[in-house]
């Protein structure tokens, strides 16, 4: 709570393009869209909180929110090559992985506030899970 209180939140309006977690707000290329910058008082990005990437490069067909140690969706349907954004809105760290024979990925540790986009390149039906929380299961159908 104390840590959050020390954060200053800046909102800027810009078009496509996005800032990486390490970028400073003043380096933004104003090309459209809405970007939120969450920084510490000295302007540096606080650990565990990354910028929401809302630019065109990070377009996702589906957004899946993790909260209360659950994926808030049970199923997601996307076309081949489609993208799913996983957004950790929990107070604890998560992970997202798929260990299927046909399609594998593992995003590693995902801190609170992090957003990761995964491209599903292979058609099929996959179970996506969190390696930390065994109850977290999402069925992704790619076709």
């Amino acid at each position: 709570m104390k840590r959050l209180a020390t954060l200053s939140i800046l909102a800027a309006i810009a078009c496509s393009g996005f800032l990486s977690a390490q970028s400073k707000p003043e380096e933004a290329q104003p090309t459209g869209g809405i970007q939120l910058f969450i920084t510490a008082e000295d302007g540096s990005p606080p650990s565990g909180l990354r910028l929401a990437k809302l630019g065109a490069d990070e377009f996702a067909n589906v957004e899946v929110i993790q909260a209360g140690k659950r994926f808030l969706k049970k199923e997601a349907y996307i076309p081949v090559g489609g993208k799913i954004a996983f957004i950790n809105k929990d107070r604890v760290s998560h992970n997202v992985y798929c260990h299927s024979t046909a399609f594998k990925f593992n995003i590693g540790s995902q801190g609170p506030g992090d957003r990761h986009v995964v491209v599903f390149t292979t058609p099929g039906k996959y179970v996506v899970r969190c390696a930390l929380h065994i109850d977290m299961r999402l069925v992704v159908v790619v076709k």
């Binding site: 650990s47 565990g48 140690k69 107070r91 604890v92 760290s93 992970n95 992985y97 260990h99 593992n106 590693g108 540790s109 801190g111 390696a131 930390l132 929380h133 065994i134 109850d135």
Partner: protein, 341 residues
């Protein structure tokens, strides 16, 4: 005048905080309330016959290659269903790599083994039996041994008439007996049910720390004080845990969050028994782990707990122990006597 108004405002604010605090504490207590029933596996409903059969199997040393080791040898009901050792001891009295986890409240676990490699008790049950390091029993041989005893034939016919004696029905019976091993009512349960004197003031302060500054609640949540999640909490150990099972380096050194029920009697602690006392365990968390490495959970960081706070947390943890009635041991089936010559 201004001071008086400010004073009144502040007073009202603090009073409001105090009043608001009661529902918060009640809600917090409620989140740890005991459930009314035991979770079941729909494909293996709890029946008196399957539970009784599973109990015999659990205590039967003839499920091991040596004929000397039963499930209960390590999961000893006299020691809170553990063995009191840092790491388990298996075939040939050789030490195993990890400590024996308790069977208490396993029905609520969503993953089994320290690395969570089995997701149901039915999947878990045969693994230690066939493990060369543990009971080292060939499962076909196990079936033959059981079939040599008419009382087991009868027991399986009653519990699982569609299966008879099979590997699956052995696993199902063991799983169902294990589901019935539930820690009883502890002083903590009586306190959250309104018996204010059931635990000490120090333990009550410990409960607040558990759910606040100590951040224990993040994983040790719910009535069983575990969310079955996996973390590297900085235990001194090279064991790769869940990372070795999943094949992900980023998951190295992750182990399952154990229940805290009856924890005071379950020393030594951690997956390798490396922490001797509850004070040691809290000191590990207070330091932010005993070791720095990439896989260390982001939630593990120095807590700045002082000695009194550590003492309060220990007092709280001690209130989670129940005084359960002794378990009765089953008489085990015997082979048919040989026909007299």
């Amino acid at each position: 005048m201004k001071t008086a108004i400010l004073g009144t405002t502040l007073g009202s604010f603090f009073l409001a905080c105090l009043i608001a605090d009661e529902p918060r504490l009640d809600a917090l207590k409620h989140s740890y309330a005991r459930p009314d029933s035991v979770p079941q596996n729909e494909a293996n409903p709890l029946t008196p016959e399957s539970i009784a059969l599973g109990k015999k199997l659990f205590f039967d040393p003839r499920l091991s290659n040596s004929g000397m080791v039963s499930c209960a040898s390590c999961h000893n009901p006299s020691l809170d269903w553990e063995d009191g050792l840092a790491v388990g001891v298996g075939e040939g009295h050789k030490k195993l790599g990890r400590s024996t986890p308790t069977i208490l409240n396993v029905a609520w676990n969503r993953a089994h083994f320290w690395d969570g490699r089995a997701e149901t008790l039915e999947d878990q049950a045969l693994e230690p039996i066939k493990s060369k390091a543990e009971m080292n029993m060939d499962l076909d041989q196990m079936i033959e041994v059981l079939k040599s005893m008419p009382e087991y034939e009868k027991g399986f016919q009653q519990a699982y008439p569609e299966h008879g004696i099979t590997k699956n029905s052995v696993a199902m019976a063991l799983a169902n007996f294990e589901r019935t091993i539930v820690s009883g009512e502890a002083p903590f349960d009586r306190w959250i049910n309104g018996e204010e004197d059931a635990i000490s003031e120090s333990a009550k302060a410990g409960f607040e720390l558990f759910n606040g500054k100590g951040e224990c609640f993040k994983c040790h949540s719910g009535w069983n004080f575990s969310d079955s999640s996996f973390h590297d909490i900085g235990v001194l150990s090279d064991d790769k845990g869940r990372g070795a099972f999943l094949g992900f380096e980023s998951m190295n050194h992750l182990f399952k969050t154990p229940t805290l029920r009856n924890i005071a009697g379950r020393a030594p602690y951690m997956h390798n028994g490396s922490e001797a006392t509850l004070e040691d365990v809290i000191e590990l968390y207070n330091q932010g782990g005993r070791v720095e490495r990439e896989t260390l959970s982001a939630d593990i960081k120095p807590l700045n707990l002082d000695e009194k706070e550590i003492g309060d947390l220990v007092e709280f943890l001690k209130t989670l122990s129940s005084e359960d009635a002794p378990i009765t041991l089953p008489a085990l089936p015997r082979p048919e006597p040989l026909a007299s010559l």
